[in-house]
């Protein structure tokens, strides 16, 4: 889109208020940890200089959800679908890595459409914002950079204003309000500088660049798996915190006499001992194989299936690993 607009910082609240009239708004809030929550009042929002601790994933794929409930009746069972009606969502304040992760999650969850995910995800409007300065663990630049390919609106702080990039028709409709002003070429220049500076900072810290679809398959028997297998705790935190990990377990729970119950799904982790266990064998009994599986699933298998890396470089797994396993170090060794 060729016209650029900007919005005065003082008017942002009005804009959000306006959005809340027609949509449910999700934005970052900071309690003990930072995460996206449903906003009742714009003053709850806490625009952080970088990514939140919890990603966007739980909005679309909650840690635990009911699939259906059932009840035993005279002649069989009655099933009640737990699929909810959809809400019109706007996600405000998402950072580049999180928006990029949605695209990956969409691929995995919608190849065969997952109705629960789809109903939450459909028609979600994304208003992203450029990171002010990155965290120590950020390395989104390894996968292309801070600005994702797809968004509806993208904000960048340029002083008293936010510069607004328009990424879609829906985004365009949103900026048709008088709250927005036309942006000058200088504004755009300032925006570009801002992004470049932040990206450079990450590049300097992360020191990792991946080529598109780099082949790492020959590292399957590398010594690294043994080293990592020894220290990994198999606690599963890296999987759960990752915005693109989407595996889940399915469990049946019932009342005391088994006459009614429900089926739920709960996030699962490929690091857990029982993840690949069948009635005959446990295919990844060894911790080394489990550690490798996660890395390969993100950087080799995903490329095979979808032609992309299933990692956005948010660095959450780095921050959350007790054993200090740093996915950047792992990658550096694999691409060497």
């Amino acid at each position: 889109m060729d016209t650029f607009v900007k919005i005065a910082k003082s008017k942002l609240k009005d804009f959000l208020q306006h959005i809340m009239e027609n949509y449910t708004l999700y934005a970052p809030v900071k309690k003990k940890i930072s995460r996206f929550e449903r906003i009742e009042d714009p003053s709850q929002i806490c625009l952080l200089p970088n990514r939140t601790e919890i990603s966007l994933k739980p909005i679309f794929l909650p840690p635990k959800e009911s699939l259906f409930r059932w009840k035993k009746v005279e002649d069989g069972y009655i099933i009640e679908d737990c699929l909810n009606g959809k809400e019109k969502k706007v996600i405000f304040g998402a950072k580049g890595c999180d928006v990029a992760s949605l695209k990956i999650l969409d691929l995995y969850m919608m190849e065969v459409s997952d109705p629960y995910y789809a109903s939450r995800r459909k028609d979600t409007i994304i208003i992203g914002i450029t990171c002010e300065y990155p965290r120590e663990s950020c390395f989104c630049t390894a996968f292309g950079g801070m600005i994702p390919d797809e968004y509806d609106l993208w904000l960048t702080d340029i002083g008293d204003y936010y510069f607004v990039d328009i990424g879609s028709e829906r985004g365009k409709e949103l900026v048709s309000m008088e709250l927005f002003e036309r942006a000058s070429p200088e504004d755009e220049e300032r925006k570009r500088e801002k992004i470049e500076r932040a990206e450079q900072e990450i590049r300097k810290m992360a020191k990792i660049e991946l080529e598109e679809y780099q082949d790492m398959e020959d590292k399957f028997e590398d010594k690294i798996w043994e080293e990592l297998g020894d220290i990994c705790l198999s606690c599963g935190r890296c999987n759960l915190i990752c915005p693109t990990c989407h595996c889940f377990d399915v469990r049946d729970i019932t009342n005391l006499d088994g006459s009614a119950g429900e089926r739920i799904r709960v996030w699962d982790s490929c690091h857990l001992f029982e993840f690949a266990k069948t009635s005959a064998e446990n295919f990844r009994r060894d911790r080394r194989a489990r550690v490798r599986y996660r890395i390969y699933d993100k950087f080799v298998f995903s490329v095979k299936r979808y032609k992309l890396y299933a990692c956005v470089g948010c660095g959450r797994c780095i921050d959350s690993c007790h054993a200090g396993i740093d996915i950047r170090d792992v990658l550096r060794r694999l691409i060497r």
Partner: protein
């Protein structure tokens, strides 16, 4: 669009005792399926597990199930007239179309005969489309051989070679592993092989066949993995960017060899 996670209610119409630990359940309504496909069967309150369809049609389907754990034990305790939940059919099925005009070798071990029974029934119906057909089937003991009641019928259309690990009273057939019998099919020239059984069996049988000159891309195996959703989302059955539930469970050996993860793993097929 219907929700693929919601099972439809089905009724157990008949239960046939096959062996001391395996029963065939006939359930209604049936569904149209390809031989080699499976369903996710729910015993409400206990859980869900994948089972190959071992026979049937739109009116009713058969599932032959060995009691090993939570769901299967409960199922074995159920009676005619009780209800279960079914999702499916899922999976790709055997490439029957490739068999036309060629020899067909069917290799099964234990419960592995279940997903191959629809193939055998298809062969019996379409015998003229194929050249030589041989079934090699092994079990631990003669009493554990599945579908014995059908053998006479099947013999009319194919050569059946049986073997057991431990013979019992009155057993006149072969004793030993399935691999031993594979050596007897040397005369096959242009054969397609369908195989399903315990991982070790599949591993050694494939080796033997390849040594005999069978082409690895004509050797199809049905793999077993942990499955939670059956539709390629939950991630449990994934190997090397493949979903065994959706892209399989049937794979040609050369493809399977590419994606089976090697060191530190219990292999499944070849290591």
């Amino acid at each position: 669009m219907s929700n693929p996670y919601i099972p439809s209610i089905a009724k157990i119409m008949d239960i046939i005792d096959e062996t001391p630990d395996t029963k065939t359940f006939v359930i209604e309504p049936g569904l149209s399926f390809k031989p080699g496909q499976f369903v996710e069967l729910t015993v409400f309150g206990y859980g869900e597990a994948p089972f190959s369809i071992s026979g049937g049609n739109e009116d009713s389907i058969e599932l032959s199930i060995r009691a090993v754990g939570n769901v299967t034990r409960k199922l074995h305790a159920m009676k005619i007239g009780e209800h279960i939940g079914i999702r499916g059919p899922f999976g790709n099925g055997w490439p029957l179309e490739k068999a036309e005009g060629r020899d067909l070798l069917i290799v099964a071990g234990g419960i592995g005969l279940a997903p191959l029974k629809p193939v055998i029934e298809w062969v019996c119906k379409n015998r003229s489309k194929l050249n030589e057909v041989t079934l090699i089937y092994g079990a631990r003991k003669p009493s554990l051989l599945l579908f014995k009641r059908m053998f006479e019928e099947w013999k009319k259309c194919m050569n059946i070679l049986l073997t057991v690990d431990e013979p019992e009273e009155g057993w006149k057939g072969e004793v030993g592993v399935v691999t031993k019998l594979c050596g007897k099919v040397k005369e096959f020239s242009d054969a397609l092989t369908f195989m399903c059984g315990p991982p070790v069996m599949m591993k050694y049988a494939s080796k033997t066949l390849i040594d005999l000159g069978f082409s690895p891309d004509d050797l199809y195996l049905s793999l077993e993995r942990n499955m939670r959703c059956g539709i390629g989302i939950c991630g449990h059955c994934a190997v090397s960017g493949m979903y065994v539930c959706k892209d399989g469970p049937i794979f040609p050996l050369d493809e399977a060899l590419k994606f089976i993860e090697k060191p530190h793993e219990v292999q499944g097929v070849l290591d």
